[in-house]
Symmetry: C2
Subunit: 171 residues, 2 copies
């Protein structure tokens, strides 16, 4: 997911070359820092969830379902909320169903298909894991910024998140 900075000497002539808006060194270092933090942080948070026998995607499902009305969501909506394909989500939910964390059920009278429900065990698991997880998030991310940095980054990132959300459904 990186953008290669191509040295002038390496660059073969190409039609688009002249117009390509390569990143400046200043932009490049920020882009790489973002990628590295995003990737390494996910990796570290995953590692610290392992003692709880949860993948980071499992934890995300627990959080999303726990915040949904009646702690359940349509599978299609859950796929959208977690940015997964339906088939991939289906595999994940099967694993989580086997672990007793969620339950797949048809909703009577609703032809729009299956729901995933958070089980009591799933809810308890999230409650038990959340304190450790929030400590991980603090130790490796949040507590490493000043309050001013937190606010500045929120101001910077928030419109980008909105832009990207707006692109979601579009072809």
């Amino acid at each position: 997911m990186d953008t290669h900075t191509i040295d002038a000497a390496d660059t073969p002539p190409s039609q688009s070359e002249e117009e390509t808006p390569w990143l400046t060194a200043r932009e490049q270092r920020m882009w790489r820092a973002h990628l590295e933090v995003a990737k390494l942080l996910e990796y570290q948070l995953s590692r610290e969830l392992q003692p709880h026998n949860l993948a980071i995607n499992d934890y995300e499902i627990l959080v999303v379902l726990s915040e949904a009305p009646d702690r359940r969501m349509r599978m299609t909506d859950l796929a959208t909320a977690t940015l997964q394909s339906k088939s991939r989500l289906s595999h994940q939910i099967t694993r989580m169903e086997n672990a007793g964390l969620v339950l797949r059920q048809e909703c009577p009278g609703d032809r729009r298909g299956l729901y995933a429900h958070l089980t009591e065990h799933g809810w308890e698991t999230m409650q038990r894991v959340a304190p450790d997880h929030v400590r991980s998030v603090r130790a490796h991310f949040i507590d490493r910024f000043t309050p001013e940095q937190l606010d500045d980054m929120y101001q910077a990132l928030s419109p980008v998140a909105e832009h990207l959300r707006g692109l979601r459904g579009k072809p």
Copy 2:
């Protein structure tokens, strides 16, 4: 990968409850903005690589190999560089080998195993795709910040990246 903010009313008594350093609203909104941008951006960049028949992980492999001496790396080092398990990387390299982008070869006299080489086709593919990819990165991320925001975020993220890199090898 989210941190659930538990409302006081929802929270069952637990041993760790009193000491749990839940995120404040201010911290929470920044954490969610970061997660959302990281995830949605990866999703959008992936979508925009699809016309090139490249997954975002494939593009990353092309970039990493193109920057390596002789455009090759040991499979174990490549797994480390891309934060993947060896088995997962192996599957990916098999796919990319079938697409003619890389080549797996034993290095004579080196008992430390297989190398992945970037093929000429892999190199050309990266050169061809990079201009589009950098435009995507600009449109959805870099150009959405002021120069000051770029510098501030680099200053904030860079020590976090360093911290996380330092944790990588540790058990």
